[in-house]
């Protein structure tokens, strides 16, 4: 307990089991997953995944913290238990590089889907980005326009078709 806030540390390999119990047990019933986020302390220390939960039945809040070593940034996804965790876990994946196992749609969400510079909220990520401004401009100019469309859009349209060459109307007279 820290002040009026209840904090529980959990082991990553047990996380899904514990979270399922917290959601379903009649004495707990944490039915709202308010927030999922990450914390990077830098200098090689483990990255934390933090869950903020609330029970609308018992009107109480709970915070779960879970340490993930840098060499195994993996934890079970809880998007199947709470739909709200879907986007929140995507954000942690995007900004910290934590892989959520079993997530239905683990893509980048805030950064562009083809972002090549890594995970911005990690402490080893420089504030102005990994690439210089010149490199960023060069990459932007060299981009294939097709890649601006998401994979879902391209899949929907089927394989790209050859656009017929434009024929100039013959000048009259």
């Amino acid at each position: 307990m820290a002040g009026d806030q209840t904090v529980v540390w959990i082991a990553p390999e047990k996380s899904l089991e514990i979270l399922t119990w917290l959601k379903d047990d009649p004495a707990q019933q944490y039915d709202m997953m308010s927030d999922v986020t990450g914390v990077d302390y830098g200098s090689g220390r483990p990255i934390e995944v933090v869950y903020q939960m609330f029970s609308t039945v018992h009107k109480r809040a709970l915070r779960l913290r879970c340490r993930l070593p840098l060499e195994a940034l993996e934890i079970d996804s809880v998007a199947g238990l709470w739909h709200s965790a879907n986007w929140l876990e995507r954000e942690v994946y995007d900004l910290f590089g934590v892989t959520f196992k079993g997530h239905p749609d683990l893509r980048r969400i805030l950064m562009p889907f083809d972002y090549a510079e890594g995970h911005p909220l990690r402490k080893d990520f420089p504030l102005r980005g990994r690439f210089s401004r010149a490199e960023q401009t060069r990459r932007a100019l060299a981009q294939d326009v097709e890649r601006f469309y998401g994979s879902q859009e391209l899949a929907h349209g089927g394989p790209p078709q050859q656009v017929p060459a434009r024929t100039e109307p013959e000048a009259e007279g």
Binding site: A2, H83, I109, L110, E153, H156
Partner: protein, 426 residues
């Protein structure tokens, strides 16, 4: 806990109008049998530059005729990396970042951030400061809801409420300007207090606003609440059940419209909200119309809270009297050696925080706004500063809400969620 009621109850018999008479021109597009035509699935893109998306939001819609089969929101166009920027700034330097997130209700964000930092550091602000912050937050709840009201009414074709609402917003802008010197980027709070005390005469100007604003609200109410076109466009559109709403993480008026009794001000009270007398409106159907009713009632309740806050506004200092937290006055700084040293230390180093983490949730205008700060021993900058964005979580439900509705209803559903992209993308 005060009794929670919702005043307006409009008949829901589709054959009848609101007064029990047959409706003159009900909007019932679903009852017309559709002619059998060959249809083709189509993928269209709404936004990112489109006024109906209420910001730089892109919606990729898969359509069957005019029916939405699936929606995929694409966000991140406004990503400014505020959370990363915050890790390079001292506690007080972060305040200007907070009002750039929700520029529709900036004072709520200013207050929420410093409340989290004060909780982390164990600072108890003065009684006057608490009441002034309650005034700021409730004023900006009206401010945020008015923008929602005006723009949403436009989306369903009603132009007049927009003008009425923005006229009132302009008056709140003037109040902002008198209080902080800025209309939108207020940056009004500091750790341990406010940037400045209320200027002379400000409370009277606020009272003047509070005395005339309910009349305008009533006019808007009479234009929309029993309007057949508005009812036809909102009732039964984008409905969500209570259990689903909780599971999808909806908060604020969106959750309460679905019939869930959860308001942070009542359930996790802060700043003596339990001593204010106000009701929390609860909806029943969870559709766009109930969200509209909940927000209208919330504005009226905010006016009540503001009246009570003004009545109890105590005197005394607004900042905590601790030279290690609050800046000394300019005169003291220039005449007293010790004050000058404190000033120098505060500006160059900042306020040292104890080791720990702290999550502070408050009821923003869009929903539960959480601020999570993590600090190491003695650090004057956060190790991590996280905003629990209410709009971000609310927007993630749009795929579920819009499925099976028409494209024009998708616009209404998107508007009814009351999103602000500055905060979604951060």
């Amino acid at each position: 806990m005060a009794e929670r009621t919702i005043e307006v109850s409009v008949g829901r018999n589709p054959e009848m109008g609101v007064d029990g008479f047959p409706a003159a021109s009900p909007m019932r597009p679903f009852d017309v049998p559709e002619p059998r035509l060959d249809t083709e699935e189509m993928l269209i893109n709404i936004g990112p530059q489109h006024p109906a998306t209420h910001g730089v939001l892109r919606l990729i819609c898969e359509l069957d005729g005019e029916t939405v089969m699936s929606v995929t929101p694409d966000i991140g166009y406004l990503h400014s990396s505020f959370e990363k920027l915050g890790e390079y700034r001292t506690w007080n330097q972060i305040v200007p970042l907070t009002d750039r997130m929700d520029y529709l209700a900036p004072l709520i964000y200013n207050c929420a951030y410093v409340m989290a930092v004060e909780k982390l550091m164990g600072i108890e602000v003065t009684e006057r400061c608490k009441v002034v912050r309650v005034i700021c937050m409730e004023l900006d709840r009206i401010f945020g809801h008015l923008l929602w009201l005006g723009t949403t009414a436009i989306d369903v074709g009603a132009f007049t409420p927009f003008l009425y609402a923005f006229q009132q917003r302009e008056r709140i802008y003037t109040l902002h300007e008198a209080l902080t010197g800025a209309r939108i980027t207020t940056s009004a709070t500091r750790v341990g207090g406010m940037m400045a005390d209320l200027p002379e005469g400000w409370v009277n100007e606020l009272l003047d606003f509070l005395n005339t604003f309910p009349d305008t609200l009533h006019e808007i109410d009479s234009l929309l609440t029993r309007n057949q076109i508005h009812i036809g466009r909102t009732q039964g559109v984008g409905a969500i059940g209570a259990a689903d709403a909780i599971n999808y993480g909806l908060t604020g008026p969106n959750l309460r419209a679905a019939g869930v009794d959860y308001d942070v001000r009542k359930d996790r009270p802060y700043y003596d909200y339990e001593t204010y007398d106000f009701d929390v409106p609860i909806g029943e159907h969870g559709d766009c119309y109930d969200r509209y009713l909940c927000r209208m009632e919330e504005m009226r309740q905010s006016v009540q809270i503001l009246h009570q806050a003004i009545a109890r506004l105590p005197g005394g200092p607004i900042n905590v009297q601790d030279p290690n937290i609050s800046l000394p006055s300019k005169t003291e700084c220039m005449s007293d050696m010790e004050s000058m040293i404190h000033h120098f230390k505060l500006i160059t180093d900042g306020i040292p925080a104890p080791e720990g983490d702290c999550y502070m949730a408050i009821e923003g205008s869009k929903g539960e706004l959480g601020m999570y700060v993590v600090a190491e021993e003695g650090s004057t900058k956060p190790v991590r500063w996280r905003i629990r964005p209410p709009s971000f979580v609310n927007l993630s439900t749009i795929a579920k809400l819009a499925e099976g509705h028409l494209v024009s209803d998708l616009i209404m559903i998107n508007a009814s969620l009351d999103i602000v992209l500055g905060e979604i993308d951060r």
